[in-house]
Amino acid sequence: MQTEILFAGFGGQGVMFAGQVLAYAAMDKGKQVTWMPSYGPEMRGGTANCIVVIADEEIGSPLVQNPPAAVVMNLPSLDKYEPLVKSGGVLIVNASMVDRTAQRDDITTILIPANDIAEEIGDKRLANMIAIGALLGCLDILTVKDLAAALEAHMPGRHKHLLPKNFEALRKGAEHAKKQRSNQ
């Protein structure tokens, strides 16, 4: 069993960290995992992305052309990656930063106003956690609990006080996704 998840957005939206948290959670559950970033001399205004591969056996390619799951946090990323999601896959879209709906009908799309929910929780940097929560609500690889445990285990000590809000963000994201799916 192998799943690949792509995260993409502006630098500063926390997509790299989101991917890493997912990778930690997978590792802690005894899975094989790779986290592969885009890297480059991209200055402000550039987009960033990473791909996480989670598997039961030794992972071959850390990159895939058509991931079955993608989280896109802004419009350029939606434009670029929507066409690439594998048929039957999942696409999480940060509706707060995107003014159009998705175009594919062969994949499950969740539009979630991640920034707005994050502001509600009281920390706008949490949009990435909300998006991951939504992702987990649609994928059977890991649970929100696994993610929360990974956050707890790997977040540097000085940030530990932020954990409760992170948990809340994950939960809200997952709930939102479930609700939206059941409406579809």
Binding site: F10, R44, G45, N74
Partner: protein, 81 residues
């Protein structure tokens, strides 16, 4: 009486760095938080009267985003010596 001036900020270039804002002597520039440029920045704009057309903003702008205008005032006829 200060010269009457005006600036135009080109969104294509402006990155919202605020250097013009901090350098403008009469402090008539601010970031326009209502708009995002295509690159995702809040661009600078002139938001109140008082621009003298001194061009200091253009001088400090690293992105050559600013065009400056100043009303051509006839030089006052020199007082009889």
């Amino acid at each position: 009486m200060p010269a009457k001036g005006w600036i135009e900020v080109n969104d294509r270039y402006c990155k919202g760095c605020e250097l013009c804002i901090s350098a403008c002597p009469p402090k008539v520039i601010e970031l326009d938080k209502e708009r995002l440029t295509t690159k995702g920045y809040y661009p600078a704009h002139i938001f109140k009267d008082g621009c003298t057309g001194c061009a200091i903003c253009a001088l400090v702008c690293p992105d050559a985003a600013i065009t400056v205008y100043r009303e051509v005032t006839k030089a006052p006829t020199p007082a009889a010596a």
